[in-house]
């Protein structure tokens, strides 16, 4: 089924500068897999090394957060729109633990 994935502005550079991509998928997991197969450079910004979605990356099907649906097993049907939205998480270094920055290689 053709579903539309909206590409957030910061990641468009890795998706041919497109605002949205149509993929064939029956679940969110399939849609994201299709997307990152087509645009491999997107992968590291969406998924952590363990293959799970990064904790600050949220996925919506139409207007529903998939955390309140069936997560990445949420089914999608033709005409659905998937949005990828970051949470903005950040933090000061813990007191007394200032990291060297930029990191030396």
């Amino acid at each position: 089924m053709a579903v539309k994935v909206i590409i957030p502005t910061p990641l468009r550079a890795y998706a041919d500068k497109r605002e949205s991509i149509e993929v064939q998928a029956a679940t969110v997991a399939e849609a994201l897999a299709a997307l990152t197969t087509q645009f491999g450079d997107l992968k590291k910004h969406l998924f952590a090394e363990d293959g799970k979605l990064r904790s600050f990356v949220n996925v919506y099907v139409n207007d529903e957060d998939i955390r309140y649906l069936q997560r990445d097993q949420t089914s999608v049907k033709a005409g659905d729109t998937i949005s990828i939205v970051p949470s903005i998480a950040g933090g000061a270094p813990k007191r007394g633990r200032v990291f060297p920055w930029p990191r030396k290689r």
């Binding site: 550079a13 910004h45 990064r54 939205v85 903005i88 998480a89 950040g90 000061a92």
Partner: protein
Amino acid sequence: MSAVRLAVPDEVMRRIRAHGVDTYPHECCGALLGRDGDGRREVIELVPLANHRDDSPRNRFEVMADDVRLAEKMAHEKRLELVGWYHSHPDSPARPSEYDRDHAWPWYSYVIVSVQKGVACDVTSWRLQEDRARYEREEIETVAHPVGI
């Protein structure tokens, strides 16, 4: 990518510092709306946001996706773009933590204000490199008022 720079109006700079002072010793955070194009990025407005993370507000913040969507919507309505984010580092230097790096995307400008003993000090801006390995510092150019692109 060539050297990056960010134009920030005085008034926006003042409000970033003031927000950091207001929430001290906790972190503050917010969205930066502006314009991006032709190698120049300019902040026009800021949108202060609530810290949703209450387990450790002193050194962690979290802006939920719903607030991000709201900020995107506001930007869209004003015909601007969500070009970045700001947050404070209470009693810590104005440079990104490892945690910051793990929770960021390239492209966005991440502005950090260091608030030392309740006083706003350095303000810096950073962009995550494409390989996610490190941040590149972006020069902040303070401008008297938004000039447009």
